[in-house]
């Protein structure tokens, strides 16, 4: 490679890194400036000590876990069945799972409110539990493209048909096949889907705000509008969570290589 080409490569890389990291550094630096003249973690301490932060964050974590459970319950059997019995339906199912990427969350939530309002046949918004459930359903829809893709990719790495038949010939029914054969073998894929779902749910604003639930996203927005340093500390925390999720995906993928069979 010529010196020129090598130099250009480095410049492009440095520009990219700078473009990404300088604002982040600025953000982090500013979040540390809550005390005049010195760097301190005051803003972080204030945020973490804030009971509203604790309440909204734990609410969103619980919602994320519920969403992940819904996602796994819906996506794993569907992707498995499509691969096993209806391979012709794959493009259609894939298209369906991609819809949440093109339909804005606000459309989904208005649809929900119209369909499930207190004067409808299923008045989910009438109770707190109902609204929470509705929010979890909404999150599940938003996370669908990621979850489905992750699980489908996982299923591609194993011989679904033969493993299913092997389990059947050993006396296993569908539930046993799904829980003891298919799920454990696509677990790394399911987990990476789960972490993506987690990252999406933690930062989601539209659904939670319009359904008026005390989630982390609306809290983030509220703090941002009213406090000087805390929102930046919060942003750094949010970034850290997202990155931790990405790191966990990497870790799980690496762990799964050790488990992988020659097929």
């Amino acid at each position: 490679m010529s010196l020129y080409a090598r130099l250009t490569g480095w410049i492009v890389l440095l520009f990219g890194l700078g473009y990404f990291f300088i604002p982040l550094l600025g953000l982090t630096e500013f979040s540390l400036k809550a005390r005049r003249g010195v760097y301190s973690l005051d803003a972080y301490a204030k945020i973490i000590g804030d009971t509203e932060f604790q309440a909204t964050f734990s609410y969103s974590v619980v919602m994320a876990l519920v969403t992940i459970a819904f996602g796994i319950l819906i996506v794993v059997p569907t992707a498995f069945w499509v691969r096993l019995k209806m391979p012709w339906a794959r493009p259609y199912v894939e298209f369906l799972t991609l819809l949440p990427l093109v339909i804005p969350a606000i459309v989904i939530v208005f649809g929900y409110i119209r369909l499930y309002n207190t004067s409808s046949w299923l008045p989910l918004t009438g109770t707190v539990t109902g609204t929470n459930l509705l929010l979890a359903f909404g999150y599940t829809v938003l996370a669908l493209p990621y979850m489905y893709r992750a699980v489908d990719t996982g299923l591609r790495t194993i011989d679904v048909a033969t493993l299913t038949e092997a389990a059947q010939s050993l006396g296993a029914g569908w539930t046993t096949i799904l829980t003891r054969v298919i799920l454990p073998n696509v677990l790394p894929a399911v987990l990476s889907g789960a972490f993506l779902t987690f990252a999406i749910v933690i930062g989601e604003f539209t659904l939670a705000a319009l359904l008026d639930r005390p989630a982390f996203g609306p809290y983030l927005q509220r703090i941002g509008a009213n406090k000087p340093y805390e929102p930046f500390a919060l942003s750094v925390i949010a970034f850290a969570i997202t990155w931790a999720c990405m790191g966990l995906i990497q870790l799980v993928t690496r762990f799964s290589k050790h488990m992988k069979a020659e097929s």
Binding site: D159, E165, S169, G171, V181, M259, K260, A261, E262
Partner: protein, 334 residues
């Protein structure tokens, strides 16, 4: 009454009929091979017995119980697949014990049976390994142990040796046969490899285009093929056409086409051979104990095998020789 009975079995995928009027009775403890080229319907028959495909019509009875309406997991049939199909997330011992666990066997029962099975396949120390840590041959042996552990009524083997290299293939097929004899389990073995089928089966079903062309012992299939397809597919063959007067080499044999195995044709005149044909040697392959000679005679290429003898060098290519064979060894082709 046979233990496993398949009667008038038919299977079509849309307009494509893959199995036609398939009938077979398998005695308890018998080892049957379904032999045929790819696409002949042999795997489809096996999958219908296993319950993975539903027959278009016909009956499958195991121990006089009709199993056609039963799901695969209710049939108590052991199956070994070409691609091993071990569960990658389970250890060897967990794989072997899987069927027993589903049946709800007690833990100590499972442990004992797993140990017994692992000893049977000669891998008593590999219980804690994962499938990816085993060679292909070992994986297939574990798959066999897994299929046998729940004591199935019938064992189905779907080309279990195709993915293995030649040496392992031969040793494993002998092992499979020894274990099958040992346990006395009724077995159907699907293969496209005639040598495999001939060497380990009690009986062979030669299949062609969805039809069972001939059912018989390896000896019968090889020496008395009843159709042209079977004669061609199993073993090597020399074709002879009788002349207008129904004669070959001057000996009356009747009208039509005939075939003879390479070992039935002799180099030079033999005492009991009545047909003698002048020939020119075209190819000589020295294979060690056997010498395969190809010669042109009566307008056809004839292959013959002779045993190596240190005092008799093989004929030179291009030399004129006489070939002889007995008219009793001719196989009439339908």
């Amino acid at each position: 009454m046979p233990y496993l009975e398949i009667a008038r079995l038919e299977k079509s995928f849309g307009a494509n009929r893959v199995v036609t009027d398939f009938n077979l009775g398998v005695e308890q403890g018998e080892f049957i091979s379904l032999l045929g080229p790819s696409g002949c319907g042999k795997t489809t028959v096996l999958r219908m017995v296993a319950g993975f495909e539903r027959p278009s019509s016909g009956a499958i009875r195991i121990g006089s119980e009709d199993v056609v309406g039963k799901r695969p997991n209710q049939r108590n049939i052991g199956m070994v697949f070409q691609a091993y199909a071990l569960f990658p997330n389970l250890t060897v011992a967990e794989n072997v014990g899987f069927g027993l666990k589903i049946k709800g066997a007690r833990r100590d029962e499972i442990t004992a049976r797993v140990a017994e099975m692992l000893a049977l396949i000669g891998l008593p120390d590999l219980g804690a390994r994962y499938p990816f840590q085993l060679s292909g041959g070992q994986q297939q042996r574990v798959a066999l142990a897994r299929a046998l552990a729940p004591k199935p009524r019938v064992l189905l083997l779907d080309e279990p040796l195709s993915a293995l290299d030649a040496k392992v293939r031969v040793s494993l097929r002998n092992e499979i046969r020894a274990i099958q004899r040992d346990l006395g389990i009724t077995t159907i073995f699907v293969t496209h490899d005639q040598e495999e089928a001939l060497s380990i089966s009690d009986r062979i079903v030669v299949m062609n285009a969805g039809i069972a062309d001939q059912v018989g012992t390896p000896f019968e299939i090889y020496n008395r093929p009843t159709t042209r397809f079977v004669a061609n597919f199993v073993g090597q063959l020399n074709l002879f056409k009788a002349d207008g007067a129904g004669r070959i080499g001057g000996v009356a044999v009747g009208q039509g086409d005939f075939a003879a195995r390479p070992e039935a044709v002799h180099l030079g005149r033999e005492a009991e051979s009545d047909i003698v044909l002048p020939a020119t040697v075209e190819e000589v392959h020295f294979l060690g104990s056997v010498i395969r000679v190809t010669a042109a005679a009566a307008g056809a290429r004839i292959a013959l095998d002779t045993f190596n003898r240190p005092d008799m060098p093989p004929p030179a290519v291009g030399s004129a020789v006489e070939l002889s064979l007995s008219s009793r060894d001719l196989i009439p082709l339908k």
